[in-house]
């Protein structure tokens, strides 16, 4: 029988071994990721867009809700500072696109974080305890999985109004399912590995095991999926906004701008093109980065 210090030493060495293994995995993955030109390019572009969004007010002489009576619904003009032109109310499109970026990126990140928290916890618990608990929990996920979520989100918007926090929560609550499945799969396979048994044997509580050992090790696929969820969420939010069910005035998002632009596409094509390009570019970048991460962490012949 081991005494307490021996137990601790054993656990530490088991944990440390996993850590070392983990570190070289990340290093290899990073090398592979940076070799992927599409992913690197995407990261740069995303970085630029993010910076533009953050520093938006500094980049234009106009405020996002400021009406320029002399220049209503006119095209791009570098001389008067309306680089992307103006919309039907005379508001500068460039600054509105950048403010739209703020909303879209924020919604993307926050909603994904919500889905992350719910999904990872749910999946880790299900996978860790296995057996009946896992069956029931996953059955519930199966039930929810087949539903068309867009409609439920719209329903929520209709019923409770168009609160931006509600949007975060609704979108996050919708995306957690696949995250839960992924985490549960990983957890199930991790559960049988030796260092978990070692932790068990030395009496570490289930709760601690889940948070200290399992969750760090499922990080890989989770990060990949997060990067792929963000564009989904942004897309969903744009979809809602396009229909008029998303963010409310005076806030704007790319979906709203595209909706306005679509209505006047013949006369004022720029009103559609600029927000659409930003949206498409952002979605592309996240997808490329997500693909790159997936290849980096699990290289298979593609």
């Amino acid at each position: 029988m081991m005494n307490k210090s021996e137990k601790t030493a054993l656990l530490q060495s088991a944990g440390a071994a996993e850590e070392i293994e983990g570190r070289s995995l990340w290093r290899d993955a990073r090398i592979r990721l940076f070799r992927n030109k599409a992913a690197v390019g995407s990261m740069i572009i995303l970085g630029i867009i993010t910076l533009l969004a953050i520093f938006a007010p500094l980049l234009s002489p106009y405020a996002y809700d400021q009406i320029d009576w002399s220049y209503i619904q006119e095209g791009p003009n570098w001389e008067n500072g309306h680089i992307f032109g103006t919309d039907g109310n005379g508001r500068d499109l460039f600054i509105r696109v950048l403010y739209g970026a703020r909303v879209s990126l924020a919604v993307g990140l926050l909603a994904t974080t919500v889905s992350l928290i719910i999904g990872v916890t749910y999946g880790a618990v299900a996978g860790y305890f296995g057996g009946k608990i896992d069956s029931i929990m996953m059955r519930f996920v199966d039930v929810l999985y087949s539903l068309p979520f867009m409609f439920f989100v719209i329903m929520l918007m209709v019923v409770f109004g168009r609160n931006i926090f509600l949007i975060f929560v609704a979108l996050g609550a919708v995306e957690w399912l696949t995250m839960a499945r992924i985490v549960r799969g990983q957890t199930l396979s991790l559960r049988r590995r030796e260092f978990i048994e070692a932790a068990h044997a030395t009496g570490v509580s289930n709760f601690k095991i889940i948070f200290r050992h399992i969750i760090p090790n499922v990080l890989g696929p989770v990060i990949v999926y997060m990067t792929l969820t963000i564009p989904q969420v942004i897309l969903t939010e744009s979809f809602l906004s396009f229909l008029g069910l998303g963010v409310q005035e005076p806030l704007t998002s790319w979906g709203v701008l595209i909706s306005e632009g679509a209505k006047v596409i013949e006369a004022s094509t720029w009103m559609l093109i600029y927000p659409a390009v930003f949206l498409a570019l952002t979605l592309f970048c996240f997808n490329f980065i997500g693909d790159g991460l997936r290849d980096a962490l699990d290289p298979k012949d593609r």
Binding site: R139, D142, V143, L144, S146, L147, P148, M150, F151, F152, I154, M155, L156, M157, V158, V159, F160, G161, P231, L235, S238, F239, F242, L243, G244, L245, G255, I258, S259, G261, A262, I265, E266, T269, L272, A276, L279, A280, L283, F284, N287, D301, R302
Partner: protein, 307 residues
Amino acid sequence: MLSYAIRRLLIAIPTLFVVITVAFFMMRIAPGGPFDQERALPPEIEKNIKAAYDLDKPLIEQYAIYVGKLFQGDFGPSIKIRDFSVAELIMAGAPASMQLGLTAIAIALVFGVALGTYAAIRQNSAIDFVVMGVAMIGIAIPNFVMAPLLSLVFGLYLSILPTAGWGDGELQYKILPIIALALPQIAYIARLTRGSMVEVMNSNYIRTARAKGLRETLVVNRHAIRGALLPVVSYLGPATAAVMTGSVVIESIFGVPGIGTYFVKAALNRDYPLVMGVVIVFAVMIILLNFLVDMIYGLLDPKLKSR
């Protein structure tokens, strides 16, 4: 096969009830909805609602009555469009939506699988990159961006198709909406098929097929496609859901008189019964479809067929 069918059924039925229950309670708590006592509604509509929803009975009984009525196809009256019940409105919009939706899925399957297989066979060639690149575009560009662009290019610049409208339902009015609905799915299915095909083509049993000296067409068409298509069959469920979701926006943009258009108007007008009705109908269709797809999958995969 039977036990598999039963298991899928056991998932489908609770899902249905979750949807109905959620819809029921949503309506009850909606501020400004038909059940909000403070809201003043035009008297005729209020009368209809009182009659339809038996508001004086206990909640459980209301629920039971509601479910019972649903199974008879009675969704209650619309609160914004007078003289029409939700069921009537949905039925009015159904033909257009179904035509567009079913055609879109059929096109997506045919083109998606063909493109994906072609790209997979010529893996890593220029054709592969082009096809996958275009597919990436189809996936990343949202349909509400694609649709106006299509309208602009084909309707305005090239003038070969009407930019919007439905006319009397002639073919030319249907083409753009169908393409707009189908494109993202073609892209997705192409990518899925390609990935699946590549995996299958690298598998051991394809190596065996080649070692047996079979000609390549046999290897691909008899040995590879079967396994490669299973994920595509699985995807049919989500694909239909995506087309339904997309139809909401596409119908609005092109002015198609379908369920999607009614849904958007209802959502903007807070016509709760209509919104709930459409949600339930769509949900039911998707649940049924997923069940059907599961059955097809079970028949195709020998490991499931024999159990």
